[in-house]
């Protein structure tokens, strides 16, 4: 008798459970929207296409960027498999250093009058109006809805027009076949590539980049990654707290990466 009652109730219980679950989700979202949504995003890989609700960007405080420190560059190389490139046989090492793909470079600026030296990491600035996308003849260079400028390697023909168009020298060309590839960072001969703000992390719901993490781990905290659209987020807070500018702001590209102290 009790067994029968229990089995009769089973489907009802399931409905009730799912309803209660949904209700709990709704109330939790309304109580603490920012927090809960963030946790949901952390929990699972993305199932909906990216939208312009987010615009990913970064603030780099050059006063905190240490001379001689290359933590961000090395972290980027490892995260995106750039350290797996091998020197072509018989190639001059210096030539290779200029040819190999890099997504982020340390650049040193010197003011000739005062002699003041500024260090900064320079990568794809993820422009709102990216010149690389404008010039791409095949549409391979594109801006994702959430503001990340990327290359669709399936469509890239390796003409390198985008490399010419980029004011930041952010893009690299893969000249040789790559023997070892990472699952998260496909790479092959004949395509252009550049920083994609660790898009594989974002798509998994992990809002971080390898460079910013490495910078923080070194104790410099010169890079803040986040959502430019999220007014209460860490990036907007940091941008609000100090003056910052776009590199080559005169070009009107509205870059996603901003710099303080230059």
């Amino acid at each position: 008798m009790t067994d029968k009652q229990a089995s009769d109730r089973a489907p009802v219980n399931r409905e009730r459970r799912s309803f209660l679950g949904a209700a709990a989700g709704v109330s939790a979202a309304s109580i603490a929207p920012g927090l809960v949504l963030h946790q949901l995003a952390q929990a699972a890989p993305r199932t909906e296409p990216v939208s312009d609700a987010n615009r990913w960007g970064m603030l780099i405080d050059t006063s905190k960027c240490a001379e001689g420190c290359t933590a961000c560059v090395e972290a980027c190389d490892k995260e995106n498999g750039l350290n797996l490139q091998s020197t072509p046989l018989g190639d001059d090492l210096e030539k290779w250093q200029n040819q190999r793909a890099v997504w982020i470079r340390k650049v040193k600026l010197q003011d000739n009058v005062t002699g003041h030296v500024t260090n900064l990491p320079l990568m794809c600035q993820h422009c709102e109006n990216p010149p690389c996308v404008d010039v791409c003849p095949t549409g391979a260079s594109f801006k994702r809805a959430d503001g990340i400028v990327m290359v669709d390697r399936h469509t890239c023909i390796g003409c390198r027009y985008c490399m010419m168009a980029c004011p930041y020298k952010a893009r690299s060309f893969i000249h040789e076949a790559i023997a070892e590839k990472l699952t998260r960072a496909p790479r092959g001969k004949g395509c252009v590539e550049s920083c994609n703000l660790c898009v594989h992390r974002l798509d998994k719901g992990d809002v971080s980049t390898a460079c910013a993490d490495a910078c923080a781990a070194e104790g410099h905290h010169a890079m803040v990654f986040g959502d430019l659209n999220d007014e209460s987020g860490p990036l907007r807070q940091a941008l609000q707290a100090q003056p910052s500018r776009q590199l080559r702001g005169d070009l009107g590209l509205n870059t996603g990466v901003r710099y303080a102290g230059v």
Binding site: A44, P45, R46, T47, E48, P49, V50, G68, T70, E74, A75, K78, E79, N83, L84, Q85, S86, T87, L93, E94, Q97, R105, K106, V107, K108, L109, Q110, D111, N112, V113, F142, R144, M150, D152, H154, A177, I178, E180, K181, L182, T183, R184, P186, R187, G188, K189, C191, V199, H200, L202, D203, K204, S208, A210, D213, A214, A216, A217, R245, V262
Partner: protein
């Protein structure tokens, strides 16, 4: 009499021919059956009932599924559906006796085995990894097989004891800090080829006073 004898002979011959043809067809049939067996014994797929879709469907349409998923992933950022190339590699990579993975496009392995037979050139692996490296960003292949979707690539398939996937994330990401993630990489050989970045000739951009920054 003669006529009857010759007719009987003709029938006999015809019968032989028919029998011979049947034999050839039978042999072909057996061969065709054998062609199906490209799933590598030492792969995770060998222990599963079927692929993410029924086998017959996958044989004919896997390329369409992969291509569709490709655009979904590149433009939409969706890495959670089950029809990913990464899923193919994760599941179908064979392993040597010492449990190291064999590239999936190596001779006789899952992709190359069939593609060589069908004489269809495969260029996915010009760019994509041929062995599972790093954490599985796409958890759905596992979920598609009714396994826990939350598992890491490093998880041991039942028939491959001690299977280790090389890569940082199984060590780093779950361990917590981003620094552990960075430190977990160990590409000594590749790093040794490279000078420290600071030693490179970095551009010193010099500015005159009053020049727009």
């Amino acid at each position: 009499m003669n006529l009857e004898a010759s007719m009987a002979k003709a029938i006999q011959r015809g019968g032989l021919v028919v029998f011979g043809l049947a034999g050839v067809l039978f042999a072909l049939g057996v061969q065709a059956e054998a062609i199906g067996g490209f799933v590598v014994e030492s792969s995770k797929a060998a222990g599963l009932d079927q692929c993410v879709e029924p086998t017959e469907y996958m044989r004919r349409n896997h390329m369409e599924l992969i291509r569709h998923q490709r655009d979904t992933t590149v433009y939409g950022g969706i890495r959670s559906t089950k029809h990913s190339l990464e899923g193919c590699v994760t599941c179908h990579t064979g392993h040597r006796e010492d449990q190291t993975p064999v590239p999936i496009n190596a001779d006789g392995q899952f992709c190359a085995g069939c593609h060589n037979y069908a004489a269809v050139t495969l260029n996915c692996f010009d760019c994509h990894a041929t062995i599972p490296t790093g954490e599985s960003w796409n958890q759905a292949p596992a979920a598609g097989h009714g396994q826990p979707g939350d598992q890491d690539l490093g998880q041991v398939p039942a028939q491959v004891p001690g299977h280790q996937v090389q890569g940082p994330h199984q060590i780093g990401r779950k361990a917590g800090s981003a620094f552990a993630l960075v430190a977990a990489h160990d590409y000594v050989a590749a790093d040794a080829l490279r000078e420290p970045v600071g030693a490179r000739s970095e551009p010193v951009i010099e500015r005159a006073e009053g020049e727009p920054r």
